[in-house]
Symmetry: C2
Subunit: 336 residues, 2 copies
């Protein structure tokens, strides 16, 4: 009987063989005229425009392998980029993925990461596929995704279109992802404060909504184009926290956003401290403004009003509270 | 008199302030309808299609900060991606740049990197600009660029269109970049074998063509669309070495490529060993096949013929020699 062999690693079998195992697991894009395998892909842009956004996840500040499964990583890398496309009012069409991993990374992990990319596209944005990528070796596990979308002949929904009198509304739940991260930092570590996979698994069973929102978020991608069709005047993806992102719409539009505490508490995740709903990052909810006269589209809940002025108000008073995640201020450089 | 202060670093001034210093240095894209600053950019695709490619440079396997200036890094990250766009026969229109750097990185270095991106676009692909990006902190300096192009109503030039009888031709010089890398590994290090900036500077003065080709290549971007207009049947960017990349065209097209040693020596860089011209990576020359009946377009030099069969021949005989750069096999994991 042969001895159990060590698992294949990226460094052990090399780039070409690893790609041969990853590529068949990736989703194909309906809008690809030429897919992966040449110097570049060729994509359809039916209305003569395309939307493009990029976002990177770095081991350490953005994720820990002790907490995220490879499947979660692939899912989250896709979901967060798809959310930026949706926030323009566009339908996601494709991703390219630059994957940079240590040589000792098991190929099975990269296969599961590919599965996460595929499942996220399939669930959140059917028809969206991976049309290109790059695989490199590095001491720091890093995933850089660039995502594309189709505006379907509509104008993009920018941050700059909010007008006094508009309704401020949210699709998605707020504060769960930040609560999940706090739980992981507080309780997902061993006695020395090092992130621990076994402890995190039990934590995940005890708090599935919070850890799920943090590790494998399900943003309301489909509702981005829905909001655009309903006449949204401004929209963004709430990635750095409601307070920070509401200020961004206010600044870009030259208006004030006035949020209602009770309404914000109403869109907070179950059991989430309303202050965390206001400050917590990585929600990947959609924050949008709509004309006051119309009905809000499905999935959007009113949380405030656009007013003349500048900056963020909460219950009519200027709100200076910090919110959100700054990798420079917030990352402690810890291991795990 | 105040003491000289320490230079600003990415970690010291944070992401927002660093972006404020980088963004004004980046080139604008003529084809951008919505540029950086929203959830996503919106790009024009005049013929209803766009070309997309991505390539990553990682500190260690792909570059050493002791050898490359930050300007060189920005230049090379742009140039290598522009080359993949050109190899489809497309005109480069835009880049998005995911930059991941250690917290101690001087902001001045990132400004110079932005200058390198700008100058490469300006020189190699006027009108091409940076339409989005991401800045993150990591222990490993990494630059992931995604590039876009416009096919201008032409069919893309794939790897798969070469036909027996076609002429094989190259635009650009071969072997200089690999020679430059060998010089750096042999002589650009201190007594302990660690890459050394001062030694590399003198080496660069002694061998400007070789080190220039390695550290800040000038691919013939403009000639990609020229080749497409001239009826190129197949084309790619010679990034992994002529032998490897010629085999790729052969495999994709179901033909053999037969290269002529004397002709290959004629397109080798000055003073380059002809064997290195065949095997060396990172040339970013354009390798293309053209119908035998027409004249070759400007800048392309014949180096062989397409034949029935499979694989790579040199002077009519099967060539099994290895060529090119595999980061898993070739990177020694050394420091510097």
């Amino acid at each position: 009987m042969p001895a159990a062999s060590a698992p294949d690693t990226l460094g052990g079998i090399g780039e070409t063989a690893t790609l041969g195992r990853i590529l068949p697991r990736l989703p194909q894009a309906d809008a690809a005229l030429v897919g992966p395998g040449d110097d570049a892909a060729v994509m359809r842009a039916p209305d003569g425009r395309y939307v493009v956004t990029t976002d990177t996840m770095v081991h350490g500040p953005d994720f820990r392998l002790a907490w995220s499964s490879p499947f979660d990583l692939g899912w989250k890398a896709a979901a967060t980029n798809l959310s930026d496309v949706a926030a323009m009012g566009a339908v996601p069409t494709a991703l390219v993925v630059a994957l940079v991993a240590p040589a000792h990374t098991p190929v099975a992990d990269l296969e599961q990461l590919a599965d996460g990319l595929r499942e996220a596209c399939g669930v959140l944005a059917p028809g969206c596929g991976v049309v290109g990528g790059d695989l490199s070796v590095s001491e720091t596990f890093t995933i850089a995704v660039t995502a594309f979308g189709d505006l379907q002949d509509r104008a993009p929904v920018l941050r700059s279109g909010a007008r006094p009198g508009d309704v401020v509304a949210v699709a998605g739940r707020l504060g769960l992802a930040a609560t999940g991260l706090r739980l992981l930092f507080a309780d997902g570590v061993d006695a020395d404060g090092v992130p621990d996979a076994t402890i995190a698994r039990s934590l995940s069973e005890a708090h599935p909504a919070e850890l799920g929102a943090q590790l494998a978020p399900v943003p309301p991608i489909r509702l981005g184009p829905v909001a655009a069709r309903a006449g949204a005047t401004a929209m963004l993806d709430v990635s750095d926290g409601l307070a920070i992102d509401a200020r961004r719409i206010a600044a870009a539009s030259g208006v004030a956003l006035d949020l209602d505490t009770t309404a914000v508490a109403g869109v907070a995740g179950e059991g989430v401290d309303p202050r965390v709903a206001l400050s917590g990052g990585e929600d990947h909810a959609l924050l949008a403004t709509f004309p006051a006269e119309g009905a809000l589209p499905e999935g959007f809940v009113p949380i405030g009003r656009v007013a003349a002025g500048a900056g963020l108000l909460v219950d009519g008073r200027a709100f200076d509270g910090r919110g959100g995640w700054d990798p420079y201020a917030d990352w402690d450089g810890g291991v795990g």
